[in-house]
């Protein structure tokens, strides 16, 4: 299999799904770029070049640059989805949900229920999340816990390029609205990605490492840190299971509970702020269902309850990293009985 970056994987999934289904259109700010300007057409292909080349292939009728009006075009995607298109809207940074959340959680998420099951809303909102880009407080948040909270939405958080291509294809083919999170510092990360189209089903966690001592449950970019920590800990005789839930809604409770019970020690890694995030949610799930199997209190490694800072010196302290994960695993092993 050829090595492809996260960026290429997303681009390829969009291209293949647009080839596969004429109803798939993509829209967003500067997703082609240069519209109405005297210089190059397809000038940007998205702010980080993820959608580059799609407009020349599919034309401006299916690759729709929008004005900077998130409420209008995210709502437009919802309305288009309810009436027969399969739009993929790019919300450039998830932080911008603040200016369009109504269209996602009050409109798209609830159509099916409010309309008594007589609506399908096959829309995808692709959005960048996460710290580490020196992008400061309004361009660095995780926020997937907010979307996970809303019934009617599905939430996918791919941890690498392979996962990204398969989960995005599934998102586009899915008949429910999906919020698809792309970590902005991962776009250049490469793994083997098949050329052919493929899908990864929602609600099926990926167990990336199998071990006996500690179960690490991690989300998105943190899965890679958890894998690194597990490999490093293996050298000192601590064997870890690592679980990547892939989607926070639906959540693969079965795999989480099974792997938590097997080791009896759980560390949950979540880049999001600590109150009401995926770490608290998963910890509560485990406590409620398999408390008796636990040998030690659950450890959570998360970002702090503070906005994401700008200064690299501070931001590096903000992001949960491999050393913090290893320390949490060692601590929980020490507490075992």
């Amino acid at each position: 299999m050829p090595m492809k970056s996260f960026r290429q994987a997303i681009n390829e999934a969009l291209r293949q799904e647009m080839e596969r289904d004429q109803r798939v259109v993509i829209m967003g700010e500067d997703i082609a770029g240069g519209l109405g300007a005297p210089g190059e057409d397809d000038a940007w292909g998205g702010p980080l070049g993820v959608t580059k080349g799609l407009m020349p292939q599919f034309g401006r009728n299916r690759v729709l640059d929008t004005p900077i009006t998130e409420s209008a075009f995210i709502g437009c995607a919802a309305g288009a989805a309810a009436t027969g298109l399969r739009p993929v809207a790019e919300l450039m940074f998830v932080d911008f949900m603040g200016v369009c959340f109504d269209q996602i959680f009050n409109q798209a998420a609830k159509f099916r229920y409010m309309f008594g099951g007589r609506a399908v809303t096959p829309m995808v909102v692709r959005t960048m999340y996460g710290a580490g880009f020196r992008a400061a407080s309004q361009h660095s948040q995780c926020l997937y816990p907010v979307f996970t909270h809303i019934p009617g939405l599905k939430v996918a958080i791919p941890s690498n390029a392979y996962e990204a291509k398969g989960l995005l294809a599934q998102s586009i083919r899915d008949d429910d609205p999906v919020i698809f999170f792309e970590h902005k510092v991962m776009y250049d990360d490469e793994v083997d990605v098949p050329d052919e189209p493929y899908t990864i089903p929602f609600g099926e966690a990926n167990v990336t490492r199998e071990g006996d001592d500690v179960t690490i449950i991690a989300f998105g970019r943190m899965v890679n840190f958890a894998n690194q920590a597990a490999d490093s800990l293996a050298a000192s005789g601590i064997s870890c299971t690592v679980v990547d839930p892939r989607t926070t809604s639906p959540l693969d409770k079965e795999t989480i509970l099974e792997t938590a019970s097997e080791t009896g020690r759980v560390v949950v890694i979540d880049e999001a702020h600590p109150r009401c995030n995926m770490a608290t949610d998963v910890s509560a799930l485990i406590c409620e269902n398999c408390f008796g199997d636990l040998k030690a209190p659950i450890k959570q490694v998360t970002g702090p309850h503070a906005p994401v800072p700008f200064s690299p010196a501070l931001e590096d302290l903000y992001v949960p990293g491999v050393p913090k994960i290893e320390a949490a695993v060692r601590e929980i092993m020490g507490k075992g009985h």
Binding site: G75, A78, R118
Partner: protein
């Protein structure tokens, strides 16, 4: 352009259905028979029907809190609507939506909306679908004078314009957003606002079915011809409160009665078609009686309908989901 006799009969029938539907709800709400809250369209019938007479099932509309009239005008089944408003299992939305979310996508009715200004972006989407799939359809956003001040509405004007969407924005200005007068809350005026976005726009007397019908015809024909969005500023009055139970203390004395006496939409319609001898008063009376009976029948069905059960609580959240 002329309306045929059949079209005129259909228009009057729709307006009568709406009036009876809303008057019945007013009574039932007072009697404590309806859960939640309802926002009634009585008095505004000429607008919804005047616009929707130009539409068919490939066309979409998005509505407001005050959505019953738009539903009936767009062809939704009044019986299923009534069941819905009573929270019954066989309601148009299985009892899960209620008055504020009543919808039937199969009829191009994208829903009443509990969020003021929620509809215009959705209408851009329906218009985009029509344009992309070349269905020949158009999409109409009904917004109140309250929603006309929302950012979503302005963003949608702009998006519809820059994408040249087959959309029409119908601002139904009933002079009060909740209890606040549009004379105070709207800066500038609706037509100038639209022109600021480069959209053709005109002010219309919303009590006059024929005025609305003609203005809507022009706007919808423009949209269908690929000439982009337009706006209609429809000036009208509502007969009841913002919601049922609203004591309407903010309106002037005799304000509603004066409208009812001088420019009631049904009355004006009847005068016009009988004066011009397009329809005679006997057949209009028959339509009125039939509408009254039909709504009474819907009401009886709604009262007798079964309630949803626990088994319905968790269905229809997703198309497919592992809880």
């Amino acid at each position: 352009m002329q309306l045929s006799r059949d079209q005129l009969r259909a228009a009057y029938q729709r307006m009568c259905l709406i009036r009876n539907f809303e008057d019945s709800l007013h009574e039932e709400f007072s009697a404590g028979n309806i859960p939640g809250f309802v926002h009634l369209y009585a008095g505004e019938e000429a607008s919804g029907v005047g616009v929707c007479m130009h539409l068919d099932d490939r066309d979409a509309i998005a509505s407001t809190h005050r959505g019953h009239g738009h539903c009936i005008a767009k062809g939704c089944d009044p019986r299923a609507m009534m069941l819905e408003i009573f929270g019954k299992k066989d309601g148009l939305c299985g009892g899960k939506g209620g008055s504020m979310h009543i919808a039937d996508l199969s009829k191009g009715m994208m829903g009443a909306n509990g969020i003021v200004g929620g509809g215009p972006p959705l209408v851009c989407g329906a218009a985009l679908t029509a344009k992309t799939l070349k269905t020949g359809g158009v999409a109409i956003a009904f917004v109140g004078d309250g929603a006309s001040n929302q950012g979503t509405t302005f963003e949608s004007y702009n998006l519809a314009k820059v994408w040249n969407l087959p959309a029409v924005f119908v601002v139904e200005d009933n002079r009060y957003a909740e209890s606040t007068a549009s004379a105070w809350s709207v800066g500038g005026n609706q037509v100038d606002r639209a022109k600021g976005f480069g959209m053709p726009a005109q002010e219309v007397d919303g009590h006059d079915f024929f005025a609305v019908w003609e203005a809507a015809r022009q706007a919808i024909e423009r949209a269908r011809a690929g000439e982009g969005p337009s706006l209609l500023h429809v000036k009208l009055n509502r007969y009841y409160g913002h919601f049922e139970g609203d004591a309407i203390t903010y309106k002037g004395e005799g304000e509603i009665e004066q409208v009812k006496t001088e420019k009631d939409a049904l009355m004006l319609f009847k005068q016009r078609v009988t004066e011009t001898k397009l329809l005679d008063s006997e057949e209009l009376t028959v339509i009125e009686e039939e509408a009254k009976a039909a709504i009474a029948d819907c009401l009886a069905s709604a009262k007798a309908g079964a309630l949803p059960t626990e088994a319905d609580l968790m269905t229809d959240v997703y198309v497919d989901y592992k809880f």
